[in-house]
Symmetry: D3
Subunit: 296 residues, 6 copies
């Protein structure tokens, strides 16, 4: 009866074995060394986000956050498009029939549900490993919320994006309105997309900065994404994951606050062996890829 | 003697009749269903912003904010250009001859005036209906402050933009320095414009993201703006106006704060009938435009 | 024995004579009226940032901040490239051999060093005069931190940029992660650069907004930079420097906070004679360049 | 036809004549030189806050804010007690019967009303002149919201305070929950009061810091309040009102932000003649009360 | 196989049956209608906080947060004292032997553990029901962290408090340094306690505002706490829990932000039936305790 | 020619020899092991703060911050009182005769001076060692600014405190308005003091929380202060100084931000040997005073 060991095992053990992933709506596979591929996997439902999906996203990315064998992630969709967004038949009903004896109590329960759904995408930011969204076909409604919480976005030339929520009578509430304006350098366009629900095609997505690269087709895009992920995965995890954590911290703080946090972060992280190993590699004109870093 | 009714009528009555608009410097007309067109209307003075203008902007947009018959607004200028900016002869004099027995008292009165002038454009953000700026010809000095407080910016191919203030000896103080850097994805360019007062032409305005679309001429631009506004105006006002309010809230808060506010906002807004109506429209494959939403 | 005079002379005297600049790693010259040119000047070491450099940056830009004869600055590199970044042999050793009896004490000393190094670039922001970075050849690692703290960025067509830090095992900690995402309107790209350490060439730097202009060669770039600086330097220093201070304040505060600060700033600054002189110039159809402004 | 003069007269003219005050629910009189006494004046209704009151508070304190003849204010209640709080019969009905076709639209209108009611007390903070609340008898519900927005609180020994809102089924929403915890140095007590709606008597109000002085009876309290107000009113208005503005600014910002704002504020305010006059008074051993300061 | 139902049942279902509580280190009982009593229950170990405790706190208060049968909570300790704080033998060892191949990796794992331990007390704030800490005997180290996260603090006259952490070589890191200064109105004292680890006895705890009431003995204190809790539990849960949520929100935001959030919160909550029921009770001169409110 | 060594010696060397202190206006002596006593030392001028004082404060406390032989500081005044505040004859003149060709330029120079004077007291917070202010006789004007930036305040029973600034025509601008309201749990009193410049005597200073202990006379107070300082100085400097840094960080951030920073701070600091040594001392029932900690 060792409660502590149990506790530690669940949440903070270093050097865990690779997590096992088995889901209804997601498919997880290892595609390169230290690179996982997470696929939205309800192709017959256009990868619509049903209740299982919202729950499994949290489970999946919490596992990945703890998995020292994974250094980078690619997220894409199976079938004809990335995702049709929320599964309105299933989820819409839940919201429309929320329990509660009066308006206040319904509001109370709705707020809890919204907070949980927000969490399903916030796990992408809380996971310190870089996450690359690879979009083909349509990326609709909740799909835009999802990719906005990823670190890097690639797409195919036939991809399109749609902030769909106003068309179903609500203001988007799981992240698009908060994250998209920080991602794209054209606020006039962001507003236009959010107010009209019009489709944005791949070229406009690239020129506006929503995606940083457009590929000929899905195969090429996945190949490019895996290569990018593998490149990232080969580097010091202390350096890469500290970079993600501090970029996100800086997004939400002033430059001065960001610098102070960075210094406090690196006062321990600069004591890593990875720095010594990298210094030697530089001396010896080796590539960082030839260095073996400890697990994190 | 019913003070409450009076009070309510002034400030918070739902379902008010359309506001009547009559101004010296502005012209307001209805150009589409639920779309108002506000024109800067001193063409012989190049739409220079005189004292009446600063006062009437507040009056006009406060009325629009309360007017449930208006769902979207287009702002443009009459005559040869959008606006020459502040009416220096009239307003400059006011600032140069500010009353006050010593430097501190003059400062006190200047601060009050600046705060009032800032408010003249902040009403554009406080009005929850989307506002589209449609710029032709020059948009100078105060004009840039004005359009920076709008949600979407369109222009003609002969339009140009100039952050003029340094050339008249002051740092711009009614919004450009605060809002422009958040609108454009090229801070090097923002600084260049603000330090040099050089003109930026339409193509650079488009590529930098200041405007999201450039039109052949003023007629085409107005047509495009009215269509965009009409499209927005046809959608659920609960969805659209909640979107504007939350995008602006998110601009000034961290992502985490923005998400929390969003959830608290939507815990009541998701109880709207608009959601049910939209759900039905989706089921019945109707367009959102076919749905009749209640007034807001 | 007049301690006050000494004190004042060091830190706050207006109208000081031009500062004298003599450094090991920097070269300072006057290239136009009121324009200084600061060159990274260790060409045989690829302008690598050694200990002297970090110290001299602070000294140099503190002097410039106090120098009323200087209104604008251009920063460039001598030799084959802008800078190779940190001088790893010299500085890396310092970090790797930090003193301290245990991990906590080493962390304590590392934090102090990082804070000092951060300060070496923060002086660029604390100096109220506009600073233009003019980059040719490579701009690597610490070089990106440096130019991110400048106001305007120009480069040659053969320039390239590299956020190098992950390759030497650390998260960049002297400003890139805090400032770069606010400069560029493409966060997907920012993340890609920071996670992979890949080179970004001049065209991508321009389209993403890192630089606002690309020149044929170094000579043309310097000429263009000097002209831009001279143009800025000819304007009211009250207007220009107040603009820089308020743009930076606004970057780190909400729009509402920025407007309030701006009003409080301008309640004294609008009482400048520069405004009167500019008003007269406007009346008399003169260029701002024909106005003589007092020192600041 | 001089719109500007009209505009200026309404909002920013220095040296205005004393405002005339005539209200249904408030009584305003001058009780000392430059000191106004504002009384809640519905004694037969226990000074309950009806619709007229909420509206007149805004009108009254906006006038006082502009009135250069007033340097300090005392607020008290006529009749048997300070105030019974909101006039539930009149106002409660308004909230319970709010218009709106669905929950979202009712929420929209409720929010506007709450914001207006909040503004009725926020004017006390926006008015830069010190405001002293003098409480006798009960201070219930909205009364606590009101005095929390004042600068100094005095009471009689028979006074009591009650955060009443939970007993009528709502969380207090016009200021108590935001301001009271910053006023009192005992958060355990603040929570107890807010959760239980129990009465707090004068001695506990004094020991907890809600009031800074307790008087024998109402007459003595008013005398003490008028003396305090007169003392404040005799000092430099630049100094006193700048102090109020900066204390409130500091309450809502970090120490570092507060110091920066303070320096920017005083860079003009230290150029006041009041400083010279005070310096002379110090030299000549005169009291500040012998100095004549210009109007503000 | 209905994943959605499962999901909803776990996290957001209204009207759940009372939670069952069974723990190693905590004892939970119902002591009044809608009032739970949570006891730290390792009396033979002086209620020292071992690994099971840290884990069970989260589980227990997450359940209580969801339990609509519970409206208020009292937390006390079994045995001779409230708690001796962290179980140094068990937990200290864990921290001293943290895994990790180098300093950076150990730091990474330590940070995860600290964040988890912080969460163990943050659940007290995330639970929207008021929580009363009732302290007898010693409240040491982690005990102060715990009670600082409660809403109201009572103690016996033999109670004492000790911020113990500096004596074991660390800065307190699970909440005392963040929360205690906001609770007590004497920062000089807070610093003294934190720097010296000296004991503070009950009278000083009361005069400084750490506790709001001191009782003769434990029995009287528990009786008083249960009565207080029962009083709170009898009121509208919409009002009480909205009050807690908004007091905590306001603590961490400016007054202006707090007011805005409050209005957005209450735009739905004022549509509760509780307001109508309370209005009727007021009309009929009934006590709030006679009103039956729906579950929340 | 070893620039780096020079640089390191100046700013970041651990284990420096004790600093030598020699000033015109301050007297520094070692009064206990690792405890320095800093005395304001212009007794014939009532310790008025002249230009030398403002400059030497920065020099003195920057040295102390770097001095690993000093773990705690006591600040008191020589002669008849703590301090009469600013030396108005010397400093007032400087402010009244500030250079500058117009109002804006004078404002510019005034702001620089205010910022420097603010820095003179901010060094007390930037110095990570606890600082105890020991006040006898008067503590006037700038004296209140000074002690507000200290960590702990003691005084004699004849001490009095006066926020003097409004009486000389200005709002206090070197820290009182920012720090005092966070120190004292009675905002009504804080406002009264700041608006009236009245004296507050020792008993009120104690009951309001400005000081945490009152002594019979100066000798007893110094003895008590030295004992307190010696007690603090005997503990782990990693624990004590980390505590000061995090308490100040938390004062200016939300609880949630404070906790996150704390965890990031302690991820390295918990790797100190001080924790192991303290653990052993606990096992062996030794006092922390018997442990020998390494220098910091």
């Amino acid at each position: 009866i060792q409660p502590w060991l149990t506790f530690r095992a669940v949440s903070s053990a270093p050097g865990q074995p690779p997590a096992s992933h088995s889901y209804e709506t997601l498919k997880v596979s290892q595609v390169r060394e230290k690179v996982l591929h997470v696929e939205l996997n309800r192709p017959d439902k256009r990868n619509a986000m049903n209740a299982a999906f919202w729950r499994e996203m949290v489970e999946c990315f919490n596992k990945i956050a703890q998995d020292s064998e994974c250094h980078a992630v690619v997220v894409s969709g199976t079938g004809k498009l990335f995702t049709a967004g929320i599964d309105f038949l299933e989820i819409g009903q839940v919201f429309l029939t929320v329990e509660g004896d009066d308006v206040a109590r319904k509001a109370w329960n709705l707020r809890k549900m919204i907070r949980e759904y927000q969490e399903s995408f916030s796990v992408l930011e809380k996971c310190p490993k870089p996450i690359i969204a690879a979009v083909h076909g349509g990326c609709i409604g909740g799909g835009v919320d999802l990719i906005s919480a990823c670190d890097i976005r690639y797409c195919t030339q036939d991809a399109w994006f749609q902030v769909k929520e106003v068309d179903i009578g609500l203001a988007a509430d799981v992240g698009t309105l908060q994250r998209l304006p920080r991602i794209i350098g054209n606020q006039s366009l962001v507003n236009e997309l959010a107010f009209t629900a019009r489709k944005m095609m791949a070229p406009e997505a690239e020129s506006s900065g929503l995606v940083s690269r457009v590929f000929q087709d899905k195969q090429a895009m996945l190949e490019g994404s895996f290569e990018l992920a593998a490149d990232i995965a080969s580097k010091s995890p202390v350096a890469v994951q500290g970079t993600k954590i501090n970029i996100l911290y800086s997004r939400d703080h002033s430059v001065s606050e960001g610098l102070q946090y960075m210094a406090t972060w690196n006062m321990s992280m600069l004591q890593t062996e990875d720095l010594v190993k990298s210094a030697q590699a530089v001396m010896e004109k080796k590539s960082p890829k030839d260095v073996v870093f400890s697990k994190l």
